[in-house]
């Protein structure tokens, strides 16, 4: 690689936060027009590194060279004026503003001459790159894919030289991913460099010229993805000792435990989807996976099934034949239901309370309370046993929930819920943001619970995970649920189309093959 072809190089860059070294002497280079993958597990330091490049935070040590000159990028504004654009994982778009206003905000005040010129430029760019978005629409009416296109447009409008994308595909359907890759390749061919952050190895292999692998804040290797296998790259990400992926045997469930009949709820917020006539049946001894892109009614489904939302009609949810839709989450627990929620810190656990108190949160009836009086010793005892059995890394049972890492808190919550020997377990995004080691232990735990006869419903946006652990699978699109099929009788491509809503046009029977 020639020196004058270099756009960006990082030299021995370090960043420390209280208690952690997020980046430890990281060096990397990026050529003009190159698509570079930044790979690593959660907590490997990818986000911190790109935040430094985008000027959100500044490095403690080391230096940054931009087109051969040493620079300190003090703010996102400065980064943008240099030609660096970033598409965030959790989009930084404003729901109550229009597309054009969103774009205007990201531009320097001097850049916008007048609204009409800006509008013309937006239309011109969106046509040139097939990034179709109407400048006058309000963001809360846009789909997730459209929001991402808006973010990319926002970067393109000021002649971007480096485009950073943080986990851009995690919220897209497989078809949308293909569209995104097309845009990125076009951009690269025009000389724009791309820094692509991901943990999905297949995508990296399909798109990127080169990959840098981070582990524990350090560069742990570099490769050309096309010459590697997903396994060999994964080894660099997680180290040699971790179990990468397992195959679990599939089962066929027996009695129906949880059934919904035309379950419908209106949206809870102005930007929500609600549910429309959802029919599902969950059987003893099986895992039913619900696939779907975020924002298609997952929250509404979880809230309706768990009892956090009791607006559905009484007869639309049945546990063991009993109408439960009007019972709250606590009352449903008494019927043998447990629930691992989507939001670990703030929903599944109270951030400012100790793990012991967080044990009491859902386990009061396990002999922890006598005539209304809390038995503190029993609470601590149970908390300790959950911590021990699930290998939760924490100070002790009195540590505040907010002091745990996401993966450890998830292990604690799943442990707490599984400990109640539920007949029915509702589980949302079991391994979202969890490292590979913890993810496989969570998967094993779910499989074990299933083999002991529990009925498990898993909602996840990670389609690979669902194919790994579920016995049957269905897709949720705009609040409507497809029929469920046996995982072994379908494939990722087919479910990928359902996620995008194709099942709504099909005229298939609503009952699945075996139980019909």
């Amino acid at each position: 690689m020639k020196q004058d072809n270099l756009l960006l190089s990082l030299w021995q860059v370090s960043k420390r936060y209280p208690g952690v070294v997020a980046n430890d002497k990281v060096s990397l280079t990026l050529a003009k027009g190159e698509i570079l993958a930044l790979l690593g597990e959660n907590g490997a330091g990818k986000s911190t590194l790109v935040k430094m490049i985008y000027g959100v935070v500044q490095a403690d040590e080391g230096s940054l060279l931009w087109q051969g000159k040493e620079v300190v990028i003090r703010s996102p504004n400065m980064a943008r004026s240099m030609g660096i654009g970033m598409v965030f994982q959790h989009f930084s778009v404003f729901e109550t503003l229009s597309v054009q206003e969103n774009i205007e905000l990201s531009l320097d005040a001097g850049f916008v001459k007048d609204a009409a010129t800006l509008r013309a430029k937006i239309i011109e760019l969106s046509a040139a790159y097939e990034l179709k978005v109407d400048p006058d629409r309000y963001v809360h009416n846009l789909s997730i894919g459209e929001r991402q296109r808006l973010e990319i447009l926002r970067c393109l409008i000021q002649n971007v030289k480096l485009l950073i994308l943080d986990e851009p595909t995690s919220v897209l359907t497989p078809q949308e991913v293909a569209g995104l890759f097309k845009v990125l390749r076009t951009l690269a061919s025009e000389g724009c460099s791309i820094l692509f952050i991901s943990h999905k190895l297949k995508e990296v292999t399909a798109l990127c010229d080169r990959a840098v692998i981070l582990r524990g804040g350090k560069v742990n290797g570099e490769c050309v993805p096309a010459n590697e296998t997903p396994d060999s790259i994964a080894r660099m990400m997680v180290g040699s000792e971790a179990v990468l992926s397992e195959r679990y045997h599939k089962t066929i469930g027996s009695d129906e435990l949880l059934v919904t009949r035309d379950l419908s709820v209106p949206p809870t917020n102005p930007f929500g989807t609600g549910l429309t006539k959802v029919n599902l049946s969950l059987h003893k001894g099986e895992i039913l996976g619900i696939a779907g892109v975020a924002g298609n009614g997952q929250e509404d489904l979880l809230e309706a099934l768990s009892g956090e939302d009791t607006r559905a009609e009484a007869g639309s949810i049945l546990i063991n034949g009993r109408k439960v839709a009007k019972l709250n989450a606590g009352e449903r627990r008494l019927l043998g239901m447990s629930y691992v929620p989507a939001d670990r810190l703030g929903q599944g656990a109270v951030p400012d309370m100790s793990l012991a108190d967080n044990t009491l949160l859902t386990s009061a009836r396990k002999g922890l309370v006598n005539r209304g009086l809390i038995l503190p010793h029993k609470v601590v005892e149970l908390a300790k046993s959950i911590i021990h059995r699930n290998d939760v890394k924490c100070h002790n049972a009195h540590a505040q929930a907010k002091s745990l890492s996401g993966g450890n808190l998830q292990k604690f919550i799943i442990g707490r819920e599984v400990d109640q020997n539920p007949e029915v377990l509702i589980c949302a995004h079991p391994t979202w943001g969890v490292d590979i080691g913890a993810a496989s232990s969570i998967h094993r735990q779910l499989i074990e619970l299933r083999d002991n006869g529990a009925a498990i419903l898993v909602v996840s946006e990670d389609i690979d995970e669902l194919f790994m652990i579920s016995d049957r699978i269905a897709a949720l699109y705009e609040g409507q649920l497809s029929h469920a099929v046996h995982t072994e009788q379908t494939n990722i491509e087919e479910v990928g189309k359902w996620i995008a809503g194709s099942f709504m046009n099909e005229d298939k029977p609503q009952e699945d093959v075996k139980h019909a």
Binding site: F91, S92, F94, E95, T96, L97, E104, L105, S106, N269
Partner: protein, 309 residues
């Protein structure tokens, strides 16, 4: 009801609505940035006291106005320091500001009780004020009322039509996204909170230099709180705020009207009217929570802490 009484009621509604309008405008700007400042009553009281003291000692009403705005801004500055820099709970901090403001204004103003100044006088605008009905209604007020008309127009334009307004709304919706775009969230919020303080100070000065030209402990009598519900009533829209302020104005002089038409009830029971009316209005506007959610700035009263991200 005859036309003259009707006109008198409307004129009085504008006069009583003006302090509500001013303080609510300031709070609206503050809330648009995502900050809930419940200290309006305290800031107003300080404004009223400082305004009166300034005019009393210097004999200059303009100086009084200036002092009132500075006092309001200083109070708002304390609030901003605590809630924006130290991330204190905005509700509790606002309450503290009200308690502090009523204490400090009573303490500093103790010697002024009983004094009087020559307050602002109505200025009839030539020609316009001669228009029948509309003239006396809109064009025969003191300078502060005219000023409030202008401020409404300016606020509407800034919030809805300028880049600054766009930034303000963005910060109020999602400060973390705004921060990622390079917008200085704390700075924007400071400006919004201080502007709110200046408006509250001005509203206080209207009370002590125009509405009743004198100073008395707790003379704002809950108007700061009523203004807070006015902002909710207006669904955070400047235009509705003006309508709302005058409606509240009518409600709060209703007891005078009733007395005027010979209705005899205990004055203490009549004095409850504005507060009862506020509750009734809140019941009407709050019964649609979805509409409320859509109208309110999405990050209202949620602290922004860049250190945690």
């Amino acid at each position: 009801m005859d036309m003259e009484l009707f006109q008198q009621i409307l004129v009085a509604a504008i006069k009583t609505g003006t302090p509500l309008l001013l303080v609510a405008l300031g709070e609206l700007i503050c809330e648009k940035s995502g900050v809930l400042n419940l200290g309006q009553e305290g800031m107003m009281l300080m404004g009223a006291m400082a305004g009166f003291a300034g005019a009393y000692f210097s004999g200059n009403l303009a100086l009084g106005l200036l002092l009132a705005m500075v006092a309001g801004m200083m109070m708002a500055g304390i609030f901003a320091l605590l809630s924006l820099n130290l991330n204190t709970n905005q509700v509790a901090t606002g309450l503290a500001l009200t308690i502090f403001g009523s204490g400090l204004s009573a303490f500093l103003g103790a010697s002024l009780v009983g004094s009087t100044v020559n307050g602002f006088k109505p200025i009839a605008i030539p020609l316009l004020s001669d228009i029948p009905f509309v003239g006396p209604l809109l064009f025969n007020h003191d300078i502060l009322v005219y000023g409030s008309f202008v401020l409404v127009a300016i606020c509407w334009w800034v919030v809805n039509k300028t880049r600054a307004g766009l930034t303000l709304r963005a910060v109020g919706e999602n400060p973390y996204s705004a921060n990622a775009l390079g917008i200085k969230v704390i700075k924007v919020r400071y400006i919004a909170v201080l502007t709110g303080g200046a408006f509250a100070g001005l509203a206080g000065a209207y009370m002590s230099l125009s509405y009743t030209p004198m100073w008395m402990e707790n003379m704002t009598a809950g108007r700061g709180w009523i203004a807070l519900s006015l902002v909710v009533f207006a669904s955070w829209r400047v235009g509705y705020l003006m309508v709302g302020a005058y409606l509240f104005g009518v409600a709060s002089i209703l007891h005078l009207v009733m007395q005027g038409i010979g209705f005899t009830i205990s004055p203490n029971l009549l004095a409850m009217m504005p507060y009862v009316a506020t509750i009734v209005v809140m019941v009407i506007i709050s019964s649609n929570p979805i509409r409320q959610k859509l109208a309110a700035p999405m990050s209202l009263a949620k602290p922004f802490d860049s250190r945690r991200h």
